[in-house]
């Protein structure tokens, strides 16, 4: 983990385009992964995707 962080810090200092790409890919990738996991979670709870407006 420390090795990865050191590499990221160096990339930020030496290669801004590379750091930019890493940032977008990391955030998008993590976002997609968490979205997929959340979908499985809600499916397990039996929560469907249709609208039920009950709150007022």
């Amino acid at each position: 983990m420390e090795g990865i962080m050191t590499w990221v810090v160096e990339l930020n200092k030496t290669n801004h385009v590379g750091f930019g790409i890493l940032t977008v890919v990391t955030m998008a990738g993590l976002g997609g992964l968490i979205a997929g996991m959340a979908e499985l979670f809600f499916k397990a709870l039996g929560i469907k995707n249709d609208k039920i407006e009950i709150q007022h």
Binding site: T6, V8, N12, K13, F19, G20, V24, E39, I52, H56
Partner: protein, 394 residues
């Protein structure tokens, strides 16, 4: 304690997770990025401000993917509308940014931007609050589900300027140029105010184009996803993203965004608008606090900039401001040597900025708690309905 390797400071990890969670809920519920809440709140937690905007953009890029994916499943994203608006919004942002640069040259930017920001937030919030009370007066609780298309939106839809486009998800037929014009206008405001623009675009989708509320939420999030990714890349190129902090915030935000998005299943469109109105008004108060802070800053800032210019050897105003942000210990040492008036002004500037942050943090926590409660009640009701239908079949 989390050590931020790029910024070189320590921060409590739970603060980032909590902030991510609360703003994620709000973002998923309203279809906004939430930067207007995150940046002041990060200031309260002692996060280095030089990295606040970039880090926030990076977390928004990830969070909005989570929320948009869920909204798409709920049928709330009008992709066609979103893609058209993105193209024209970019044009508007350039125009807004160009005007800002012109105002900077003639030294009139600060007060004009802040006043415009306050007018927008208070104006929007008040109008949406008025709309809520107008529609619900004399009606039973829950009788009115959503506000229909506004008179202005209906007028916009009736303009027959080819090519006309059919927006299936929104249920609207409208001129491409009307959509483009609205997008340029919202982009211009976003570029002018230096904001992401989600809180401007969402009401524009409601009141100028006439989208149903949940479609406006989902479609706006789709646009935030694109602009967030671009913003994250842009700030990362300038070495202004603390990636570890963004990842930690995303862990909270991704969960929060799911909660906020699912809550839109159960909450009537009109109530979403009511909560949005309250959020806008609170954000307006936060900007008033920042304006007060800015008045105190005006007492010591000219001297500080002269000192920074002499010390750093920089001549460009933007570079000098950046140098000040990145050299906090030197700035504090300089302030300690100044007169009581300047030191007092510095303290009051920090205090009012903190008040703004506390207000936004408190509002984010309270609002996200309310939305989560709505979501849990809705989920319990849905499971009850499902159990009833199983029993009925049996």
């Amino acid at each position: 304690m989390l050590t931020l390797p790029i910024a070189g400071v320590e921060i409590m990890a739970w603060q980032l997770v909590l902030l991510g969670l609360t703003v994620g809920v709000i973002g998923g519920f309203f279809g906004v990025g939430g930067a207007f809440m995150v940046t002041p709140a990060l200031n309260v937690f002692g996060f280095p401000m030089a990295y606040a905007i970039g880090t926030d953009m990076a977390h928004i890029a990830g969070k909005s993917i989570v929320a948009t994916a869920k909204h798409r499943k709920l049928g709330n994203v009008d992709m066609r509308l979103g893609l058209i608006m993105i193209a024209f919004t970019a044009v508007g942002i350039e125009l807004g940014a160009t005007l800002i640069m012109h105002l900077e040259k003639i030294g009139r930017v600060g007060p004009i931007v802040r006043i415009t920001y306050m007018a927008l937030l208070f104006g929007l919030g008040t109008f949406m609050l008025y709309e809520y009370f107008k529609l619900t007066r004399g009606k039973a609780a829950g009788e009115v589900k959503d506000a229909g298309a506004s008179k202005f939106a209906l007028k916009m839809q009736s303009l027959n300027i080819p090519p006309m486009i059919n927006l299936k998800a929104s249920g609207i037929r409208i001129s491409l140029w009307v959509v483009g014009g609205v997008a340029i206008f919202t982009g211009f405001l976003a570029g002018f105010l230096g904001v992401g623009g989600g809180f401007i675009r969402m009401p524009a989708l409601l009141y100028m184009i006439g989208c149903p509320t949940t479609i406006a939420v989902g479609t706006d999030l789709f646009e935030v996803m694109i602009s967030g990714a671009y913003g994250a890349f842009s700030y990362a190129m300038k070495a202004r993203v603390e990636l570890l902090a963004a990842v930690v915030m995303l862990l909270g935000a991704a969960v929060g965004a799911q909660f906020g998005t699912v809550a839109t299943k159960y909450v009537k469109g009109l109530i979403i608008r009511l909560y949005f109105a309250v959020t806008m008004l609170l954000a307006g108060v936060s900007v008033v606090f920042k304006q007060i802070a800015s008045n105190y800053k005006a007492v010591y800032e000219p001297s500080m900039k002269s000192w920074a210019k002499a010390t750093s050897g920089l001549t460009n105003n933007a570079s000098i401001s950046e140098w000040i942000m990145m050299n906090k210990p030197a700035v504090k040492a300089w302030i300690a040597q100044q007169s009581d008036v300047m030191q007092s002004a510095y303290t009051m500037d920090k205090a009012w900025n903190n008040y703004s942050g506390y207000l936004m943090l408190g509002a984010a926590c309270a609002l996200s708690a309310l939305i989560i409660v709505k979501m849990l009640k809705g989920m319990a009701y849905e499971r009850k309905l499902a159990a009833q239908s199983v029993r009925a079949i049996a």
